[in-house]
Every structure is written in C-alpha cells, then in structure tokens.
C-alpha cells in the first residue's frame, strides 16, 4: 500500500518503528485470538476425522466451494455459546443473538422434553386433558401507538401464542411492573384495552400481580401475561412437521406493527398512514383448522418478522424454503418506509399475522378458509417447502434473482448509504 510521507506521527505507537511514518504492529484483539483458536480446533478435528475415514474422494463435479459450504453448515450447527460478557440489545431482538441466548443459557439450564421444541407454547398433559401454556412480556415504547397500545399487545400476543399451538385460549394472568410517577389515567386506559382485547378473543384475565419500582428503574409500564388453553384437536402442530411440497401462507400484509412503532417513536421525521396489526388470531386459526386437515405448523410472526419464522421452519424440519417476493403482501406505506430506512419488511415485527405451513395439495383450500375470515382477507400463498438445500431460506426477488434470507444477528439497523 502507498504510505506517502506522513508528517504527523500517531499519538501512541506501541510497536512503532518507522520514524514519522504510520505506526506498525500494535496489539491484537483477544476475542479474535479466541475465535481463531476455536476455528483451528474445529478444522483440526475435521482433518483428523477425514484421516480416520481415509481421505474423502471428492464427488465428480464437487468444487471447493461446496466443501466450504459444508464447513459453514457444520459451524452453524455447533453448540451455541454466548460470547458477550453482558446482555446487549441484540439479545432481545429475536434474531441469532436471541436464539443463542435461549439455547446456551435457558435451555441448557432448564432442559426437559416439554421445553425442548421451543415452540410458542408448551403442550402438557393434565389428567388426560391436553393443555397449552405460554408466557410473554411486553416492554413496547411508546406505550400508545396508532392501532393499539401495550394492553392489546399483552393480551393478543399471549392469545396468539396459544392459538398457533392449536389450543383454544381460555385464561390469562397479568403481571404489571410500574414505574414510580406513572400516570394512573394511562394505567386505566391500558387495562381497559386489555379487557376489550380479552373479550374480543374470548378469554378471561383471572389472576395478576403488581410491582412498583423507583423512578428511572423502568420505562413507565411493563406487562407480563401468561395463558393456558386446551388442545382439542388431534395431532401435533410444529415447524418440525414441515416437509417438501408443503405450501407456506401468511394471513395478511407483513411489517405493519414494526413500522408503526418505529414511526411512532418520532425519531425519524417520517410520517405514514400505517397502523399496528395487533389482533387476536384464535378466530382465524380455529376456522382454518376446522376447514383444513393438512395444516402442519402455525407461527405468529412477531419479533424477527416472517423471515425468522421461515428460518425456524427450515432449521427445525431440515428442509429448504423458497418464497416469492411478489407474492408476499406488504402495504405500500410499509414498503416505502422500509426503503427509506434501508430495512427489509421480511424482518419487521407483526402482532396479528400467522404463517401457515400446509400440505401442498390443500394450499388453495387453506387460502380460501383464511380469506373467508375477516382477519385473513389478504392472506396469500407466499412459497413452498423444498427438499434442497436443507436449512436455507431463499427468496425469488421481484427483480428476478434469488437470494438467501438468513436470520439477523439483532435488530435491523438503518444503513448509512
């Protein structure tokens, strides 16, 4: 590289030798050294294994790129480890960092067969009855936004987690963490919308808890809800049930909630006519399940958006997923805002949209059933499950190309250029 004739030495130069020139050497980063050690160990094991098995004969037509892809696949399947010393915002964003945290910390400590599928709700047997149990906490900012508030969210979110497990939601608990100084009028407004949402979904809030923390120790109001429901339907729904040939549907336009929240924070000087999609999905799901027998999995696309759900399907069932950009419903306002911010609606949260995996032969039937319900009027078949390549989600772009849709590490971050 050109170094020219610099006239100003750097402020500090631990390994410096070239007088007046740019500093050379310097220290190295400890975490890099650790990552490289892991890498050496792993590739070392790989080489040892190959030695044991005799040097592998490359299949005809196999290129080195394929071997690299296999190596990456193995690295991706390695036991997750939390490398950070402290929790960062990425751990709560629903992407790779969240998954790593759940698997390396929570699942590792609590491991049991009911928790292990990591579905939206646990399915348990109580005296012969099949019951679904779930919990979720709500920390949205702002608390009130176009189309809803933290109260609707807290009820709908838990109702939906039960509904996508194939359960009829029945009873909810509500825990409140309130910040000193929080207006009582706001709290009344929130609980009124919780009650309205509960009535709409046909559930009752039957137990609760309240804690108040000092000013500054919370952001106004946090809510936790837990819920139980009964599973009357035979068979088990789950993303691991997906198989090649299945169709993938979504119940309506995606990304409305996430974009609404981003704009409602008022940091962007952007305005758009868009409201949150928060809604209970149990009615829609009940009607879908009663009219279609071939449903294999249901997921509500919250944090991490539809892209994250599709990746969960691909990973859990070890299948490929291929979706078509042109078929994915996205409102013009959401698309516009996403274009401006440099984010992808596929990763933006919804609060009232379900992703459905259904037997390919029953795709049209499922679509008709969803469209017949007010919550699913804009439902669409967005893609299908393929045999190859396993574990990978691909998108056929509107432009006519193809790309991989991977999990994000954390929140989608706006790009500078």
């Amino acid at each position: 590289m050109t170094t020219g004739h610099p006239s100003q030495p750097a402020t500090q130069d631990p390994g410096g030798q070239s007088a007046g020139g740019p500093p050379a050497g310097g220290r190295s980063a400890g975490w890099v050294a650790a990552a490289l050690r892991d890498h050496d160990e792993q590739t070392g094991r790989e080489e040892a294994r190959q030695e044991r098995q005799g040097s592998p004969q490359p299949r005809p037509g196999t290129v080195r790129e394929e071997l690299v892809l296999d190596r990456i696949d193995r690295a991706r399947r390695a036991r997750p480890r939390v490398k950070e010393e402290r929790i960062t915002m990425s751990h709560g964003a629903g992407g790779k960092a969240t998954q790593t945290l759940i698997e390396a910390i929570f699942l590792d400590a609590f491991r049991n067969p009911l928790l292990e599928p990591l579905e939206d709700a646990a399915r348990i047997h109580v005296n012969g009855a099949r019951v679904a149990l779930t919990t979720d906490s709500y920390v949205v900012s702002p608390l009130f936004f176009p189309g809803g508030d933290i109260g609707d969210l807290a009820v709908n979110g838990t109702v939906n987690d039960l509904a996508v497990s194939g359960a009829v939601p029945l009873y909810l608990s509500a825990g409140f963490i309130l910040e000193e100084g929080f207006p009582v009028a706001d709290l009344s407004r929130i609980v009124a919308s919780m009650q309205a949402a509960a009535q709409r979904a046909g559930v009752q809030i039957v137990t609760g808890d309240t804690k108040v923390v000092e000013r500054g120790k919370a952001d106004g109001c946090y809510i936790n809800t837990a819920g139980i429901g009964v599973i009357e339907r035979e068979g088990t729904l789950g993303v691991a049930q997906a198989r090649p040939g299945d169709a993938i549907l979504v119940s309506g336009p995606i990304g409305d909630h996430g974009v609404t929240i981003m704009l409602a924070r008022g940091e962007l000087d952007l305005e758009a006519d868009v409201i949150s999609d928060t809604a209970p999905l149990n009615g829609l799901i009940c009607s879908l399940l009663s009219k279609t027998t071939g449903v294999r999995a249901l997921r509500d696309a919250t944090r991490g958006g539809v892209a994250t759900i599709l990746n969960e399907i691909a990973t859990a069932a070890d299948v490929g997923v291929l979706v078509t950009e042109d078929e994915i419903p996205v409102r013009l306002e959401v698309r516009g805002a996403s274009e401006l911010l440099g984010i992808d609606p596929m990763y933006v949260a919804c609060e009232g949209r379900v992703v459905v995996v259904v037997d390919g032969d029953q795709a049209d039937q499922a679509l008709a059933a969803m469209r017949a319900h007010p919550q699913g009027e804009q439902a669409a078949i967005i893609g299908r499950v393929t045999a190859e390549p396993p574990g990978i989600v691909q998108l056929k772009t509107a432009f006519g190309g193809t790309r991989i849709v991977d999990l994000l590490v954390g929140d989608p971050l706006p790009r500078i250029c």
Binding site: E66, T88, P389, Q394, L395, R403, I404, C417
Partner: protein, 375 residues
C-alpha cells in the same frame, strides 16, 4: 411503488442480460469491481448475479465506510464515549462494529451513553437538549456523508454551541481505488463507479483510472437496473477496446459534482497525511480531519484519544478479497471463525461488506440456486 418499481422491472433485466451475454468474448473472463458497498447490497438484495453469464464476476470493493474503520479507531471511539458526561452518537450500522474489546453495543451494555441517530443534525438536537453534557458525533463515511457533517459543524458554529463535537473518520474514495489499482496482483477489467460519492465529487476525479490504468469506469445508480445497465456499458467499452469514464447515474450525478457540498467540506475539513483502513493498511491522504479553524468541534483536540493501533488479524484475508484476488469463500476463516455475528475482518462487518453480503445472501453457488429454484 413509483420511482422504485420502474428500476426493478424483470422484463427489462432479461433484455439487458441478453445484451450483456452477447458482448462476452468466448473464453474470456471478466472481473468488474463495484466500488461502493451500496451497490454490493443492491446486487445481493435483488439477486442480480443470477442475470450474469458465468464469465462475468463481480468483485466487491472497499466502499463500505463502516467496514473500513480499523479496530483501534473503534477502541478510540469507545474510549471517547466513556469520558465523563459524554453522549456518543452514531449511525445505526456502526453499533455492531467490533473493536478489540467489543462494539458500541457492548459498551452501551456496560453503561456508556451511546445513542443511535439518523443524521448528524439529530446529534445537534441532543446537544441543545443536554447543555450539561458533551455530545460527540461519530462521523463516518466517504464524500457522501462528509457534507452533512460539514454542514452540521457550520450550523453548530452559527448557533455558538459549545457542547458538540465530531470524531472525524471521514475517508476519501480516490486514494482507496488508487491503492487497489497499484496492487501488483490486480485482476480487474473495469469499475462500477460509486453513485452517491459522485453526486458530491462528480466524475472528473476518476479520469486517471482510464488515462493512467486503462480501465473503464461507469458511475452507477443504486437500483438493480442501474447496475445491470452499467455492466452493459462497461462490457460495451471492453468489447470496443475503450477505457472511458461514463455516467449511467446522470439523473443524479452532475459531471462536475456538487460545488456547494465540496465547499462546505473544504471549509471545515482537510486531508490527513495518512489513515489506516481495515484490510488495506495505511493509505496516504485518504481521510479527512477537522481544520484548525473549527478546533472547538474536533473531539480529537478536545479529548485525549488513546490512538493505540490494533493490528489486523493475520488469518484475515480481507485485503485479497478487496482486490479481487480471492473470493469471500476462499478465505480460510470465512464462515467459521469469521461470521456476521463475530466479524474478524472488514468485509464481514457491515451487511454491505463483501463477505457479509456473500454469507447472508450468496452462499450457494449459482448452479445450486438454479437447481433449487427450478419449479
């Protein structure tokens, strides 16, 4: 959506792709570099490479301003953020860039006040609202974002704000391109020129690339059809044996650039003697610093900056990837030790980096993609 969909029409893409394929000489391989990270992003987001014949390879260049910030510089920024009463402000995609002890996100988790902004003017707002705090803006970017930093300093000066400063990491595109051209193992046939940078600097600064190095340049827009058309224009030049500077993005880029923006940069900033680029090393006169006249807004003068250099890890082959010598997957730590979660090298840092884009969107070979998507 108007003004967007027109530039993404698949039928026009098919027509252009056929014209591009027709220009390929049998047996010849073409390597074209898109200099700008924004172009890399477009190429992968829309799957543009599916339209290109096997003979054409796109090489992803050094034009991702987030990626090129060296680890030591990131450490400096985190040290500044940890000074008493400081609020550090930064663009979103800087938040995850690792220094030797983690990123802004990690520093934030340790209690440092670091806030994401969408414009340097947002940092000014924060400074006005918090007179008791010292607000620093982590200024990064090529000539594209330098004018907004310059205008922000001018605004701060006009308002007499005394609690605002910038940590200047602006870099300039021409020395980086020159460094790549001067590399002995260079294997590039032409350049897709950066669009947004050129709205500021215009097309003239690229003339030496055609004149002295005999390589064509087409300044391109950021929609997929813009890029495909630019590739077509480059292929036309190559097939006719021409090496010229052409402007595909004429709806936005004036040939002589934006005089007002250039004046604002010149008023507030000047060239550094040298600056370190992650993956490329030290390049002389490749970055900007705040002029003496605006010293009161220069975080490097107001605070003591550690300035400890962190060497690029030896296992990292970003330099070769940037020069087009290696493809991302040919690097030996690609996808295993170096991933988007724990990026070791510059090319994996931002989604615009060549390796990150390849990892996120392009990991499958074109043949595998074609097989899987055949319906």
């Amino acid at each position: 959506m108007r003004f967007v969909d027109e530039f993404r029409a698949a039928d026009k893409a098919h027509a252009l792709a056929a014209k591009i394929a027709a220009l390929c000489e049998p047996g010849r391989q073409y390597k074209l570099m898109e200099v700008c990270g924004g172009h890399t992003h477009t190429i992968y987001k829309h799957g543009l490479e599916d339209y290109l014949p096997e003979q054409i390879t796109l090489v992803h260049g050094p034009g991702c301003p987030v990626c090129v910030i060296p680890m030591g510089r990131m450490d400096d920024a985190i040290a500044l953020a940890a000074e008493p009463d400081v609020i550090m402000t930064s663009f979103g995609d800087m938040m995850r860039v690792p220094g030797s002890h983690g990123s802004f996100f990690d520093a934030k988790a340790r209690g440092t006040d670091i806030r994401m902004v969408y414009s340097p003017l947002d940092s000014l707002k924060i400074a006005r609202k918090n007179p008791g705090k010292r607000v620093i803006f982590m200024a990064i970017g090529f000539e594209t974002t330098a004018p907004s930093t310059a205008m922000t300093m001018l605004r701060a000066a006009a308002e007499g704000l005394s609690n605002f400063s910038i940590f200047c990491n602006h870099v300039t595109i021409i020395p980086a391109i020159k460094a790549i051209l001067d590399s002995p193992d260079l294997r590039l046939d032409g350049f897709i020129g950066p669009g947004h940078v050129s709205t500021v600097i215009g097309c003239r600064p690229y003339e030496f690339i055609a004149r002295d190095y005999g390589r064509p340049v087409v300044v391109a827009g950021f929609e997929p059809l813009d890029i495909l058309q630019s590739i077509y224009m480059l292929m036309q030049q190559l097939s006719e044996g021409r090496a010229e500077i052409e402007n595909q993005y004429s709806r936005v880029v004036p040939w002589d650039g934006n005089v007002v923006a250039l004046r604002a940069i010149g008023e507030t900033m000047e060239l550094r003697p040298y600056f370190e680029w992650r993956g490329l090393g030290f390049i002389s006169h490749s970055a900007l610093k705040v002029r003496e006249k605006y010293a009161q807004f220069d975080a490097e003068r107001l605070f003591s900056v550690p300035g400890v250099r962190v060497a690029d890890p030896k296992a990292c082959q970003c330099g070769e990837v940037l020069k087009g010598v290696l493809k991302p997957w040919e690097c030996k730590v690609f996808g295993t030790a170096c991933t988007p979660e724990t990026p070791i090298g510059t090319c994996m840092v931002s989604p615009e980096g060549a390796c990150a884009a390849y990892y996120n969107y392009g990991r499958l070979t074109r043949t595998r993609v074609k097989e899987a998507t055949r319906s």
